[in-house]
Symmetry: C3
Subunit: 160 residues, 3 copies
């Protein structure tokens, strides 16, 4: 089976150098064989939030742009995981859970469709076995920087 | 002590065949001795969302209907756990955590009362020792299908 | 390195006797080497919610009061952890993750600044190594008792 790095390359994805949190927390923590990744925003490679990934789904942006934002959150989740694993993504045994928080305008219920942008990216990058995860998707009132989506993750990892 | 299956029977609960997610994720994942169950909606046995379990608490439905919806989410959580454990609920050591997301209308703060519908079901089904769990309850802006409640869970399980 | 108890003393913090949940759930559960603490509200030592820690950020209260509320949630998280560890905070190996739910008014996006009230408290109480955690911060529609903030936590603990 192709490695996660090979899959990412085939998908044309070059993981960014992820941003450092500007506060008393870290992007990821390993405990009990699990890697917990902090909630990631759809920040671009330059660390900024594109106007198209800002605001409320169903009001300021719509399904496809929301999926793109969710996909970008998932790319940043993988970038943080790689950093936490000293660059070695092959230590990922599987993705256990994604938590998806969608910045939802009134009566926007197509939350799972938006979240699929992240689930599809993880499934494609990790492959069918490692990539299938549990997930919870909810629509929230506000997100940091008025981002359209925020995604956190738990991975199971190989012991060092 | 009666088994979880016996308790469910005594409660008149026949766990449904749970729905398969129509996307790149799975209903539950086992990792590190923990079983993570994806967020479950209050879908009925036929897989549909009853009108009475739809909309915002304090606006479209009220405490008792909300508790019923939360209870139904918890039944679906158990159904997914059973499926993930190859039908053997006796492998559940305890319920570790429930996460409750309530579709809350303006100024609806009785979120814990709604969530009790789920906690009471889990406590009754698993018994006083295995059933007592940590939980987090929040009111969200929107939920998939405009469901009134969504509940995710973590269980500790016996090794195979 | 100073103990967590010493650090708390130096910070002038005397952990309260935490409130018992009035429902079928518990404040904290230990499983798989992890301690899961239920979502905590910014309740004071007397168990009541101060008017200044109630309502929506950006509408009823503002950044500094929000940070105070988040800090108080974190104090209550530690109080629950201490209770679950039979009074022995030295069993905490590290804080793994904080989940922050901010009661956010329209267009309030300074959620991370509010959440820093909790992250700073945990970092100061546990010290730089044990205190650095992953975190997820989102703005929710409503919280129990109309609290301004709710915070849940996962700690890694030493085996007994």
């Amino acid at each position: 089976m192709p490695s996660i790095e090979t899959r990412l390359k085939d998908m044309g994805i070059d993981l960014p150098a992820p941003p450092t949190p500007l506060a008393n927390y870290v992007p990821a923590v390993i405990a009990g064989g699990l890697l917990f990744v902090s909630g990631q925003l759809p920040l671009g490679r330059d660390g900024s939030l594109a106007p198209g990934h800002r605001g409320k789904l169903g009001q300021d942006l719509f399904n496809e742009a929301g999926q793109e934002a969710a996909r970008l959150c998932a790319v940043n989740v993988l970038a943080q995981a790689k950093l936490a694993l000293d660059g070695d993504l092959s230590r990922i045994r599987r993705c256990v859970r994604l938590g998806g928080f969608i910045n939802a305008g009134p009566k926007f219920h197509a939350l799972p469709a938006v979240m699929n942008g992240a689930s599809d990216l993880i499934a494609a990058a990790l492959g069918p076995q490692k990539g299938r995860h549990a997930r919870t998707t909810v629509g929230v009132a506000e997100l940091p920087l008025d981002a359209a989506v925020e995604i956190e993750a738990i991975f199971e990892i190989e012991p060092e």
